[in-house]
């Protein structure tokens, strides 16, 4: 029994053309027993950054509260909104502070970052439970269905997808991967982040 798989749940993020998407299932379980089909593990950080927190459910709530505090402190001190790169390092250092007694969460960050020339760039990253960052330009996966998500995403993802195509790709990837994982599923939620809006949709998933 691994503590990382105790509650179940998975998160995936994908980059598109001037947009990113982050999606997660909604199951909360105690090993094989499902408790809730509406457990959110993806949260907004700013208008342009979302974070997904798959892993031990108690730490999902603890870390969400902790990141909210730290981002608020950053915003007040710096008098500006945090950028996805800086936020990812904030996540990483928060987790590494607990190197020898970690939070059992491997986060996924998705956001739109600003380039020095005034343009925008999609940003996705994931870390392990002690904060080792994995920057990716295609997709990142995490959670109990991560091995399945890798396989489906590898087959479906292609570069420069628009918001609607990216939504379709990430949704199909997530739904098909969690159907092969006993610990994930029971509903899904997708956020597509573009330059000026975030589209959130709940997916109708298999409930078995």
């Amino acid at each position: 029994m691994s503590i990382m798989e105790y509650n179940g749940g998975s998160v995936i993020a994908m980059a598109g053309k001037d947009c990113v998407a982050i999606a997660s299932d909604l199951r909360l379980g105690n090993q094989m027993l499902s408790i809730s089909s509406n457990f959110q593990r993806v949260f907004p950080v700013t208008d342009r950054i979302y974070i997904g927190l798959p892993g031990l459910a108690t730490d999902v709530t603890t870390l969400r509260e902790r990141f909210r505090l730290r981002v608020n402190m950053y915003t007040i001190k710096e008098e500006r909104e945090i950028e996805p790169e800086a936020f990812t390092h904030l996540v990483s250092s928060t987790l590494y502070e607990h190197r020898f007694g970690p939070y059992f969460i491997s986060p996924v960050v998705a956001g739109i970052s600003k380039t020095p020339t005034g343009g925008i760039k999609p940003f996705i990253a994931a870390t392990d439970l002690i904060g080792c960052i994995n920057f990716a330009k295609d997709f990142v996966v995490s959670g109990t269905a991560s091995s399945k998500l890798f396989g489906v995403a590898e087959g479906l993802w292609e570069p420069d997808l628009g918001p609607e195509d990216l939504f379709e790709t990430i949704s199909q990837t997530l739904l098909n991967a969690v159907d092969r994982d006993a610990f994930s599923g029971w509903g899904a939620v997708v956020h597509v982040i573009t330059k000026d809006q975030v589209i959130t949709r709940k997916l109708k998933a298999r409930m078995d």
């Binding site: 509650n7 027993l33 408790i35 809730s36 509406n38 457990f39 459910a57 108690t58 709530t61 007694g101």
Partner: protein, 194 residues
């Protein structure tokens, strides 16, 4: 074995817990009330490690009371669940964590809505339409998947609850014989005899 469950209906939450107090294989008592009224519109069932349960429940009860004395208003169910969760989550990473599982049923007088939270000893909290703890949960949750209706009137909710109790008595080897049932709605908390 210890079993507790709760379900939401139209404007109410029904909360039930068995009344046995056991030590090893011996039943020491069969009229133990394991549902605490922690504020005027909030009920909490507690189960888990004997000793921890009563200690933690009283700690919660007194702190929520202190909040109400200081601020006139009691904490609403959502706020109370957050505070209780934090107490458990901090305790989890301490030298002697409380091992207490809770169901928190309340009526939010501002939203005029019943609320139910499933809380375990790790500090996991989730809002649910129905919930259970203990060995009974393996039978009761699937039963409530079939029969639970969030818009059901009180009589129908109590019927569902009776089905749950019957199922546990029928299928669980060491099933409890008696249950304490309490209801919270807009008028506050009251006991129910099944």
């Amino acid at each position: 074995m210890e079993t507790s469950f709760a379900l939401i209906g139209k404007g109410y939450v029904i909360v039930a817990a068995d009344t046995t107090s056991a030590r090893s294989i011996v039943k020491m008592k069969n009229d133990e009330d394991k549902i605490k009224t922690v504020s005027p519109h909030l009920l909490m069932t507690y189960s888990g490690e004997p000793g921890d349960t009563v200690q933690f429940a009283e700690y919660i009860e007194r702190n929520l009371r202190l909040y109400q004395i200081r601020n006139i208003y009691p904490l609403r169910p959502a706020a109370a669940s957050s505070w209780i969760r934090r107490s458990l989550a901090e305790s989890l990473r301490s030298r002697h964590p409380y091992s207490v599982n809770l169901l928190l049923g309340g009526y939010d007088t501002s939203l005029s809505e019943p609320k139910l939270y499933w809380i375990d000893y790790l500090g996991t909290v989730t809002e649910v339409p129905f919930a259970a703890h203990g060995y009974g949960s393996y039978f009761v949750l699937s039963l409530m998947d079939r029969y639970h209706d969030p818009e059901a009137p009180l009589e129908e909710g109590l019927e569902t609850l009776k089905k749950c109790i019957q199922e546990v008595s029928k299928r669980l080897i060491v099933s409890p014989e008696r249950y304490k049932v309490k209801i919270v709605d807009k008028d506050g908390v009251r006991d129910i005899d099944l």
